[in-house]
Structures are given as structure tokens and as C-alpha cells.
């Protein structure tokens, strides 16, 4: 069953993203939003974990939350895709389940 995982907390504040990526199944989708978008940054202490996860899951990040935080596209890890609110909705529809990591 396809699953969309959502992460809305900073990976430097609590390990929700790290746990999500460790437990997410193959070909699942992961959407980062709110403070979760910080997990998409290049050169951070979690960047290697995120890069490795991209081999098995797709990672998306909500554009509006990136902009609010002053993070531009060129600061993101390669392979992470930016989506808008419509894309967020589409992801929830495309997947059978949604797993929200708080």
C-alpha cells in the first residue's frame, strides 16, 4: 500500500524526520512542511540521512513554507521536489494512507 508520510517539525528539534525516514517503506512519499522543511537543507547534520533516503523514497517540500523561512531552491538537497498546496492535496489523494509524524 502506498503511503504519504508528513513531517512538520524541525529535524534539529526532535527526530521525527529521522524516524520517519528509518521506518518508511520502499517507494513511499514523504512531504516536509511547516518547520519540517528545514530537513531539506543542504549541508546540515541530517543531509546525509536525507540523501540516502532518496534512494528508496520520494521527498517533497511545501514551497510556501520554504519561502516563509527564506529558504531558496538552491539551498535544497538535489532530488527533493517542491510542491504547492495543490500538489500537497494531490499527494494525499494519490496515496492510500497518510502517516503524520508529529
Amino acid at each position: 500500500m502506498s503511503t504519504l508520510h508528513t513531517v512538520n517539525k524541525s529535524p534539529f528539534d526532535r527526530p521525527s524526520l529521522q524516524t520517519c525516514l528509518r521506518l518508511a517503506g520502499k517507494d513511499h512519499a514523504v512531504l516536509l512542511f511547516e518547520d519540517g522543511v528545514y530537513g531539506a537543507l543542504q549541508g546540515s547534520t541530517v543531509a546525509d540521512t536525507v540523501k540516502k533516503a532518496l534512494d528508496t523514497v520520494s521527498i517533497y517540500v511545501l514551497g510556501a513554507d520554504l519561502k516563509a523561512r527564506g529558504l531558496s531552491e538552491d539551498k535544497l538537497i538535489d532530488g527533493i521536489k517542491i510542491v504547492d498546496y495543490k500538489g500537497f492535496v494531490e499527494l494525499t489523494v494519490e496515496n492510500d494512507k497518510v502517516n503524520a509524524w508529529l
Partner: protein, 135 residues
Amino acid sequence: MSDVKKFMYVNRKAPYGTIYAWEALEVVLIGAAFEQDVSLAFVDDGVFQLVKGQDTTELGIKNFSPTYSALGDYDVNKIYVEKESLDARGLTIDDLMPLTYEDEDDDWAEKDSIRVVTAAEMAEILEQQDVVLSF
């Protein structure tokens, strides 16, 4: 003015996910009226508060990042950012907003308020404070 105390506000939260960052900024601005020796520390996710280019239009919430630029007017001009926190997040000082103040004792010359310090230096600065308020 012998009763001037050293106040440090420690900011450890990212700006929009929680209300801590904005609350801290309001407390700093209100507290500035008491003419104490105020400084700010940005550590952990708090460094994200100072990232430049914030634009909350799509979120429909207030972008309070311009308010940090008013701190100089409020005589809050010692802003310490921990280097280790920047490094862990893949950030450098170039990713932060430039914050300045006008130095009254130096013919109102414009000077940088932000100082990037190591954890060891930050520990020493914390040690010198009379009051530390953490957000």
C-alpha cells in the same frame, strides 16, 4: 545607573512553527524600555529566525523578520549567533540578515550588531549575565 543588569534573551526556536520567536522579540522590545544591558543569543533552531529573504505572503501570516532590524533603534545591539548551530544547519553568516546599529560614542557610525561566536565563547557570555531568559 548602578542597578543596570545584564539581560540575555536566548532564542532556540524556528520562527513560524511555534509562537516562541515572535513572543521573545516582543518581550525584548518591551523590556528595552527599562534601559538595561540587553543582549540576544541565537542557538539551535533559533538561528533560523535571522535567515534573510523571509516571505510569508503565501502563508497569510505576519512576516516579523523586518522587526529584527529595529532592534538597533531600541539600543539592542549585541546579537550573538552560535557558530556550531549555523554549521549544523548548513548555514553561514551570509545567509543571515545584516543587522546594524548606530554607535552613539563613535559619531553615529553604522556598525554590525551580529557576532558569530563559538560555543565556548557563548558559554562565557552566558556566564557574565545577571538574568538569562530562554525562549
